[in-house]
Symmetry: none
Subunit: 250 residues, 2 copies
Amino acid sequence: MLKEERQRLILDKLNTDKKINFVELGKFLDVSYDSIRRDIIELEDKGFLKKVHGGAVANSYLSVLGTKTNGASSSEELGVLSKKAQKLFENRQTIIMDGGTTNFFMAEQLAKTLELTIVTNSTPLAMALNEHPRIDVIFLGGTYFKRYQITLGSEVSRQLEHINADYYFMGVNGVHAQKGLSIRHYEESLIKQQMMQAAKKTVCCTIEEKLNVQEAHRVCNFQQLDLMITNLKPTDFALKDFQKQGVEII
Amino acid sequence: MLKEERQRLILDKLNTDKKINFVELGKFLDVSYDSIRRDIIELEDKGFLKKVHGGAVANSYLSVLGTKTNGASSSEELGVLSKKAQKLFENRQTIIMDGGTTNFFMAEQLAKTLELTIVTNSTPLAMALNEHPRIDVIFLGGTYFKRYQITLGSEVSRQLEHINADYYFMGVNGVHAQKGLSIRHYEESLIKQQMMQAAKKTVCCTIEEKLNVQEAHRVCNFQQLDLMITNLKPTDFALKDFQKQGVEII
DNA sequence: AAGAACAATGCAAATGTATGCAAAGTTTTT
DNA sequence: AAAAACTTTGCATACATTTGCATTGTTCTT
């Protein structure tokens, strides 16, 4: 087995398991403990992972690849959700959309005839719109975060000051009726707050598995939303806590 | 068996297996180990694969650009060119790179261990660098031009004012000894001029088919370049007009 | 603080790499 | 068509990398 091949396998495994143990890995790949350990050291030098006592943990910029394939199950949910969202778009609107699978998916599904201006900080989203000749794209520059494939930082913030959009489609990691909308990355939560300021209405599109989840950084309270779109029926039992809050849910 | 035929088979096999072991391959093709090894070296020089101890592995290879690839003929030239350019990069440099296939290819080929800051206005280039954990990316925001997958406009210009880079790798449509470097899009030519201002040295990487070509908008004179890198030998006859101008050519 | 688990180091064997060289094969020139 | 010039190929040699193991040092657990 080639060293590179082995290291590729290690990264793949790390990508799914998020952590690995030298002994297990050695048996799994049928090479000595030492080789594994040396591979891990080499991979750490290249910055692909973090070595810890007894194994290694993901550092993974490559986890992007992992998160992008949420599997077929959730893409069906995304389809339902996306279809509902499409009704909101009208010609000549300006829309802010940030990163995340949901927004990416929605952007792809937009009608080719729609005439919009989309403001985004997500590279995959901008590229997805290559296929939409009538959609103008404004890209917010700044420090590029590979893990999420978005830009962040003060430069993005500065550019947002000059934007007045009709809608902001916010991607989040968690939506909780009491604890609000939250995400994992601090800087990103700040930019999202500013994106809210820059738009007349804020819409959150989220699939059911993010409901009642809370992450480290709160972007806003649930009541501050203007609209939430999920893959569920608005009358679904899982939404009852959210229905009480006075936010429109479709 | 012809060398070309054998190399074709090697690439085919690499394409399906993603990795190749010299010993196996030698038996499979029934030639000596050395021939295989020399083929691999040659293919690596052209940028088709990555040689490793005991074999070779596929490199990601223009996967993102898809439609933009100019076909196999020019990618061989790109490989040669890219290889020369790699020598310029050193840790802790800040590099401006704009769009175009050549820059994209070079970015992909950068060593995974290089510690750089890359400033760009090209979305595919930024995404290509997802695989390089030690390279920081600053994305210049602005109006997104789908056709070239870059941002342009005054916002890009404003952000460039704050950049002091070591090198600017300029992509162009045409290089002419008398008529200078030129491109098709007016706005883009302005941004390129500003990128030159923002870097200590400007380097132009170009394959031979762009030599002696002129397009609508001149970015600068040929003499204003600090370095030109082509796929040709510096002594090549096709470069004689350029050699007279006092610009270093490699 | 002792024992267990893990990490680092040096070493030797195995494997892989670079280089020069001569023979065989190709292409170009005459 | 023969000779000359050049390329490709396989082999022998010396050199370099990778690997597993033994030994010694370090960190964690109880």
